[in-house]
């Protein structure tokens, strides 16, 4: 395996964004090199035996000083993460998975739904030609819930709040239009909830466009051993999302899409 490491990291700070649901967790830097789209498994020492499993989170950003996770409280584990305090110790292993294959010389279209923005924050920050990036961001919650403040002004970002059927249609429309522009020579990256990915996937498939899509599955190990995150690659071979993904090329997911309905 690559340079995966498991270390104990101290919490630097936990920054709430607009309330008690969205947070940026800053940890001491493990000083890894990583690729946007890669993730870490996180388990605070204080969890003891319960919650039992670690939780997977995209590396939102990682530099010499800090590792940043952008997360939303959705269940027991993330609720407990939101109670972390500076100097608490968290077990972290990573960088995990493959990450996006990025050609920095080509234009990039990012399609992010809600928390799907997380893996792109570092990409956006560190890309040498931000003017080459365009983002369509569909979101349910207030924009202030998402850490978009520091995004370079050079990046075109279309934010579409999705609260109704009609909004969804608008979002779909926007994505269709945008994809068209990138189908020839650009790169398209997508991350978000399943219905969002479903839509993106359908559009790209119908337009025969290349697409890299980041998937989420419940995970226990994050390193390809528990086989909890398997999805069918073909009718006789599986992918482990944590190891062969979480980023997949559109075409590789056919069998999974058939089974899981997207």
């Amino acid at each position: 395996m690559k340079n995966i490491e498991c270390i104990d990291l101290r919490v630097l700070e936990l920054v709430p964004l607009d309330g008690k649901e969205f947070f940026i967790l800053r940890l001491c830097s493990p000083k890894w090199k990583y690729r946007p789209g890669q993730f870490v498994m996180i388990r605070p020492i204080s969890w003891g035996y319960d919650p039992f499993l670690p939780r997977p989170f995209s590396i939102s950003n990682l530099d010499e000083d800090k590792l940043e996770i952008f997360f939303q409280v959705v269940g027991r584990g993330t609720k407990k993460l939101a109670e972390l305090r500076p100097n608490d110790v968290v077990k972290v292993w990573g960088p995990l998975g493959n990450g996006f294959e990025i050609d920095e010389s080509l234009p990039i279209l990012i399609l992010a739904g809600g928390m799907g923005i997380a893996p792109f924050l570092g990409l956006i920050k560190n890309h040498p030609y931000p003017e080459n990036i365009e983002i369509v961001f569909g979101h349910r919650k207030n924009l202030s819930c998402y850490p978009l403040k520091n995004i370079s002004r050079k990046i075109l970002i279309w934010t579409i709040r999705d609260r109704s059927e009609r909004d969804l249609l608008r979002l779909k429309k926007a994505i269709q239009v945008k994809i068209e522009g990138y189908s020839a020579d650009g790169q398209i990256f997508a991350c978000g909830p399943l219905p969002f990915l479903d839509m993106v996937h359908t559009v790209c498939t119908s337009k025969k466009t290349q697409l890299q899509i980041s998937l989420e599955r419940p995970m226990a190990c994050g390193i390809g051993v528990c086989l909890g995150c398997s999805i069918p690659a073909t009718s006789n071979k599986n992918f482990q999302v944590c190891k062969h993904g979480p980023v997949f090329r559109c075409g590789d997911l056919t069998t999974f899409c058939e089974h899981r309905g997207f």
Partner: protein
């Protein structure tokens, strides 16, 4: 101090094994520690042909534990032997293959194939998987069929040590243990996961697509400890304790009730370096317990 233990003719340098299905094929953990440190590596359950396992969601978290219904996804025995085995440090650390067959025939075939490989240290016969339709737990709940599978494997295993892995989902684990001992098992490992279930009341769905899965983790440790204790009283072959072991203290709990060795299972998911760390702390713990050999401690529960 010398931590080596003998499981039949197999010598382990220490009693720490990794449990099948929780340590992949071993090589995935090279990045977290030195595989050669381990007492042994039990690899993911292997069948004759590759298997994709069950569909859909196959893990879920539970209080102090987890459910899985993987359904024995694996690359098949041949791919394992060709692609993985050469990469493992089998000369320093015994590699134990966990075998799964749908029927007696399968088990015989697997036994034939694996017993020929000198890189393989022992066979662990999985008659206790709750997540497959054929074979698995159904063999492990009945004395006669448990014994039959054991005999079948033993017949072709040559000099290889045969460990039979028992299911906890029985009224009397002692009966099954005695049956497999009589059938020639060199050792017994227990417990496999306990059939269990979790549901999502909002979606009104089971958390596992397969509905029922196997419970593992610290939650089941007290049950495992009891079963190991019970089995040790009635058999004369070594017993390997499995179930919720998460610390070096837990390891010694199992040794205290009589286990020769233990397997670290789901706890590997909470800290991928755990098995290595536990090996490293064996001596510290022995000092704390004021013992100079494992024999001094094994089975020495004061009642």
């Amino acid at each position: 101090m010398d931590f080596s233990v003998k499981i039949g003719s197999l010598v382990l340098k220490n009693p720490i094994l990794t449990a099948s299905g929780t340590f992949g094929y071993g090589i995935e953990y090279e990045t977290f520690g030195d595989l050669k440190k381990l007492g042994g590596i039990v690899v993911k359950g292997l069948s004759i042909n590759p298997r994709q396992g069950n569909m859909g969601d196959r893990i879920a978290e539970t209080p102090c534990g987890m459910l899985n219904s993987i359904g024995l996804e694996n690359i098949g025995i041949n791919a394992f032997i060709q692609d993985i085995l050469p990469k493992l440090p089998y000369k320093q650390t015994p590699i134990i293959v966990n075998l799964y067959g749908e029927n007696i025939n399968d088990f015989e075939t697997l036994s034939k194939i694996t017993s020929k490989r000198e890189e393989i240290g022992a066979l662990e016969v999985n008659i206790s998987c709750p997540n497959v339709k054929q074979g698995g737990i159904q063999f492990g709940q009945d004395e006669k069929s448990a014994a039959k599978v054991c005999e079948a494997v033993k017949k072709h295993a040559g000099s290889k040590v045969v460990i039979v892995k028992l299911s906890p989902n029985v009224s009397d684990i002692k009966k099954i243990a005695k049956a497999v001992e009589l059938a020639g098992a060199d050792a017994i490992s227990l417990i496999n996961t306990i059939p269990a279930m979790a549901v999502d009341i909002y979606k009104r769905r089971p958390k596992l697509t397969n509905v029922i899965g196997g419970l593992s983790g610290p939650a089941i440790k007290p049950i495992a400890l009891r079963m190991v204790y019970e089995v040790v009283q009635v058999v004369n072959i070594p017993v390997i304790g499995i179930g919720g072991i998460s610390s070096v203290e837990d390891v010694f709990e199992f040794i205290l009730v009589g286990a020769h060795a233990v397997q670290i299972g789901s706890a590997n998911f909470t800290n991928p370096a755990l098995s290595f760390e536990i090996v490293d702390s064996l001596q510290i713990m022995a000092n704390k317990l004021n013992i100079n050999s494992l024999e001094e401690f094994r089975g020495k529960l004061i009642i």
